[in-house]
């Protein structure tokens, strides 16, 4: 094995002496010619590590060498070896594509014939040839990303540093970028790609996994995934509502993680389960809360004979399957489902994310304290959210065109699409933040334009990056939000106390919202949005950048609330999150291209190359069907 290209030796970085370290004693040796991923949630230290490698920061302790050059002492040489693409792509929005390239070429010392060739090659590579004169600010997200990459590649670097290059862009561009980067490997360029998407991390040759500044793992992703081999399963064949089943599953001690995947549930168990194990331990330890208990009692008495249990039954259906090599659930004695409706538990191959969760000690349990305290909202027959031919134009540009759909009560509805597609615009029209150019938006049968204030009193809203008043303390934030949602006196005080108790905020009451750890910020933001017991929750990219555990906790609460009858509209560009939705509207280039359940969407894209398409595959397929060329902007 040749010498490693990059040696990271006991790197520690503190930004201020009193704060916790951004990076804590990280060491790794990276060899040439590979794609190395740096993975972890926001705040893990990914950008800090990359900047240290680019000589843009000084380490507090330790050192990094690249090809033998120290980042502190030999910064000048290092700048000749690397190509760097920061998070905002590093482009000058006021300059055109070709002007940006020229600038970087000049700065990197690439001139003359070599420059011409390089430009030619890069423009073809990134498919930007016909957009040369366009201002960088007018490019779409995907195009900016490619331009940023081109600028970093101008002087063919030994090491390419990419800081979260794929955030928020459409899936097609993401895939193209990945392909482009992989082709670079053939030219013996080593690539460092940092990401918060764990599925991307999985595809790298080697990954540095960070969490809160600490190195959790370094090595080929498969090695980490091995950890959870034999521990990953999917509960299939659930008819009806899978959320209660998820809750049940999570309550079991042996299950450390569970997520909804379309109509199935994927779980990770604590220990390897061998064939032949029965799940009595899993079954016997189930905890049903009293409400559920009485519901089941009631339905039991209603039902009478088991054969009356039909597919349309909204209640839990648990079954004892025929004994076979499949594992089955058996719940309380007394409830048996007819044999033709078995729940199946099938092993599935482990994912990187599963291993991550396992390393972090597992996800949260299934019970949401918040949901427990929320009273049941009566189910309504009319749709809770109605979008009728919503269109929004900003000058010449149409951000959203003829959007129409309805959302019944108690559903989780997702708006899925890349940045700039129109999902934020649609979302904002539906919660009253934007006035549609034409069309109507209704919440709870109230027109948002005419009955604004009243309609909005039924809405709870959680913005991206949790817009809390950072300078105000936790208590002050709670006070404010409850006041502005018309709570007063006793009722207000009680609600605040309830939230504090539910989310264990007591130790943080006097702390400024800014200073809270990310998980608590999320809790505070959630509590501020539900104190007035809204009928509908609007969530705008609620979990972008958070670690998987925090994400699960969040969805626990949401699922619990939905079970109590709350309707939820969520926007996301994170495909995995879309799986939690009951139905999804795919938005691309200002229009809804398809609405359906996640499984319907996936089914629609089955083909010989993709017998088992993921949601991302489905999206790409649908976009291609839609026919527009991905590179054109609005």
């Amino acid at each position: 094995m040749s010498d490693p290209l990059i040696v990271i030796h006991e790197i520690t970085k503190l930004f201020t002496p009193s704060s916790p370290p951004a990076l804590d004693n990280i060491s790794a040796a990276i060899s040439k010619g590979k794609i190395i991923g740096i993975a972890g949630p926001d705040g893990a230290g990914k950008t800090t590590l990359i900047r240290l490698m680019a000589s843009l920061l000084l380490p507090t302790k330790g050192r990094i060498t690249i090809a033998g050059y120290d980042t502190v002492k030999d910064a000048a040489q290092i700048s000749r070896l690397i190509g760097y693409m920061p998070q905002k792509f590093g482009l000058y929005e006021d300059l055109s594509v070709i002007q940006n390239l020229t600038l970087y070429a000049d700065l990197q010392g690439v001139t003359g014939k070599v420059r011409q060739e390089m430009f030619d090659k890069l423009l073809t590579f990134t498919d930007l040839k016909k957009f040369q004169q366009r201002l960088a600010g007018a490019l779409s997200g995907g195009m900016k990303q490619k331009l940023g990459l081109a600028c970093a590649l101008i002087r063919k670097p030994t090491l390419l540093l990419l800081d979260e290059p794929s955030v928020g862009v459409d899936p097609i561009s993401r895939r193209e970028l990945w392909k482009m980067v992989q082709s670079l490997l053939e030219e013996s360029i080593t690539v460092i790609w940092s990401t918060a998407y764990l599925d991307e991390a999985e595809r790298t040759d080697s990954v540095i996994l960070l969490d809160e500044g600490k190195l959790l793992f370094f090595g080929p992703p498969q090695d980490l995934t091995q950890r959870v081999k034999g521990k990953t399963f999917q509960i299939q064949n659930i008819s009806g509502n899978r959320r209660p089943i998820l809750k049940q599953a999570l309550q079991k001690e042996e299950v450390i993680d569970g997520v909804i995947q379309g109509k199935d549930i994927r779980i990770v168990t604590r220990k390897v389960l061998e064939p032949g194990d029965l799940y009595h331990p899993l079954v016997e330890n189930s905890h049903l809360d009293s409400a559920r208990q009485s519901q089941i009692e009631a339905s039991r008495s209603e039902r009478g004979s088991p054969s009356q249990i039909g597919k349309g039954d909204e209640e839990d259906q648990f079954g004892k399957a025929a004994a076979s090599r499949n594992r089955n659930f058996q719940l309380e004695d007394g409830i048996h489902l007819p044999a033709h409706q078995p729940l199946q538990l099938n092993p599935v191959s482990p994912r990187f994310e599963d291993a991550f969760i396992d390393m972090l000690g597992g996800g949260p349990g299934g019970v949401s304290a918040l949901a427990e305290k929320t009273p049941v909202l009566p189910k309504k027959s009319e749709p809770i959210i109605q979008a009728e031919h919503l269109t929004k134009k900003f000058g010449d540009f149409t951000a959203a065109r003829d959007i129409t759909f309805t959302v019944p009560s108690g559903e989780i509805f997702g708006l899925l699409g890349p940045n700039g597609a129109g999902k934020s615009t649609t979302f904002k029209m539906l919660c009253g933040l934007l006035t549609p150019t034409s069309g109507k938006a209704f919440v709870n049968s109230l027109d948002l334009q005419t009955a604004g204030s009243e309609a909005r009193s039924h809405i709870g809203y959680m913005a991206q990056k949790f817009s809390l008043y950072g300078n105000l303390s936790v208590r002050q934030n709670l006070d404010f939000f409850s006041g502005i949602y018309n709570l007063k006196g006793h009722h207000k005080r009680n609600m605040i106390e309830e939230m504090v108790e539910t989310f264990a905020l007591t130790p943080y009451l006097g702390v400024n919202a800014d200073a809270l750890p990310l998980g608590f910020k999320q809790r505070l933001a959630l509590s501020c949005s539900v104190m007035h017991r809204p009928q509908v929750l609007f969530l705008d990219e609620p979990t972008s950048g958070v670690d998987p555990v925090t994400r699960r906790e969040f969805w626990n609460h949401i699922n619990g609330l939905v079970e109590k009858g709350v309707t939820v509209m969520v926007t996301t560009h994170f495909m995995d999150e879309a799986e939690y939705c009951d139905r999804i509207a795919l938005i691309y280039q200002s229009q809804v291209i398809k609405i359906g359940t996640p499984d319907e969407l996936k089914q629609g894209s089955v083909s010989s190359d993709h017998p088992k398409p993921t949601l991302e595959d489905a999206f790409i397929h649908l976009i291609k069907q839609f026919g527009e060329v991905p590179n054109a902007t609005g």
């Binding site: 904002k428 950072g470 300078n471 002050q476 404010f480 409850s482 006041g483 609007f538």
Partner: protein, 369 residues
């Protein structure tokens, strides 16, 4: 609705106080301005260096020169030796004036003939030098009278008796600091409101507000009230400092002053909200405020009287709220201004306030999109 407005008001107070940037704006400019206005920004004339060219060898010339030494205004007197020195002396700004006496001075006087004193002044600082010329003239006039009296000449028996009403010693800070109560209040009101909406946009909480049941009107009120309170507090601070620390007399009605300040602040808050609705970032809001403030202060009559401005510009000053407030502030501090005159300055301000607040809320609603 009241509930919501109340919650918004409390939040705004807390946000302004707890945000480092806002706190900076509330504390540093007042201190700096107070300091500057109290001491530095003065059109007073003191400590003036001058030159004397005394080609006369007689007693009268000497006597006259001595009079200049005695004056408190001239702190440095340099004796020039020849006419040639006058040019470089003035050119290089070694003094603002040269008092030149020719060789005949004493002789002429003793022969009861007219004698002339030449004053050469640096026009580069025409304001100062005009006042200096005035001082010099009165020194010479006094000398003249004394000489005439001594020599037994009949003199004119009329004199000018000069009395400065309201400010007998013409202390500049008696004028500056009451004016400061207006300027500072304006600065704070402008900055607090201009920053308020921009800050929420930057933080991302603006959407949160808009999605809540609060109507745009309530949101505006929630921002206006704290701004008014805070700026009036700052204004009061200056008044307090002026009266108790600088011992400026306060002869009029405090109530009337506050009425005027209140209406004034409303007008300014309207402008601030207007700027805030236009700005995307806090920094733009600061620049916008500055852009509004400079002409306001310059044209308000503070630095220079309005009657000095060209005739076509003077009507424009009727649109500037500060103009009215300054008249009232000076009046109530120093002149015991009666209510009717105060009222004459309040109602135009009230109309301006109405206009700015309406324009601000219109723009605010439009910019919500």
């Amino acid at each position: 609705m009241l509930n919501r407005i109340f919650a918004l008001i409390i939040k705004e107070f807390l946000a302004v106080w707890r945000d480092k940037k806002s706190r900076f704006v509330l504390i540093v400019p007042p201190i700096i301005q107070l300091f500057i206005f109290a001491f530095a920004a003065t059109l007073d004339v003191k400590n003036v260096p001058i030159g004397i060219l005394n080609r006369d060898n007689g007693r009268q010339g000497f006597e006259l020169a001595q009079r200049f030494h005695g004056s408190p205004v001239f702190n440095k007197i340099i004796y020039l030796q020849s006419v040639d020195e006058i040019g470089p002396f003035i050119d290089n700004m070694r003094g603002v004036m040269v008092v030149s006496l020719d060789e005949q001075f004493s002789r002429n006087l003793e022969a009861q003939q007219p004698a002339q004193v030449q004053l050469i002044l640096d026009g580069r600082k025409s304001n100062t030098t005009q006042i200096v010329a005035g001082y010099a003239s009165s020194i010479i006039q006094t000398f003249n009278d004394d000489f005439a009296a001594l020599s037994g000449f009949p003199q004119q028996n009329t004199i000018l008796v000069i009395r400065n009403w309201f400010n007998p010693n013409l202390l500049y800070y008696w004028y500056n600091i009451p004016s400061l109560s207006g300027i500072l209040t304006m600065l704070v009101a402008l900055l607090v409101t201009a920053l308020s909406v921009a800050r929420e946009r930057e933080l991302g909480t603006f959407d949160q507000l808009l999605v809540s049941p609060a109507t745009p009107f309530e949101i505006l009120v929630g921002k206006t009230v704290p701004a008014v309170v805070i700026s009036m507090l700052e204004g009061s601070l200056i008044i307090f400092v002026g009266v108790f620390i600088f011992q400026i007399p306060f002869t009029g009605s405090l109530f009337l002053l506050y009425c005027s300040m209140f209406v004034f602040v409303l007008a300014i808050v309207g402008v601030g909200l207007f700027i805030s609705s236009l700005s995307q970032t806090q920094q733009q809001a600061v620049l916008g405020s500055f852009l509004f403030m400079s002409p306001s202060v310059l044209l308000s009559g503070f630095a220079t009287p309005i009657e000095n401005m060209p005739a076509w510009l003077q009507p424009v000053t009727y649109l500037i709220p500060l103009r009215y407030y300054l008249v009232v502030a000076k009046g109530i501090f120093l002149k015991d201004m009666p209510g009717d005159i105060v009222f004459n300055n309040i109602w135009p301000t009230a109309i301006i306030a109405l206009c700015t607040l309406t324009a601000a809320s219109w723009l605010f609603k439009r910019r919500l999109q």
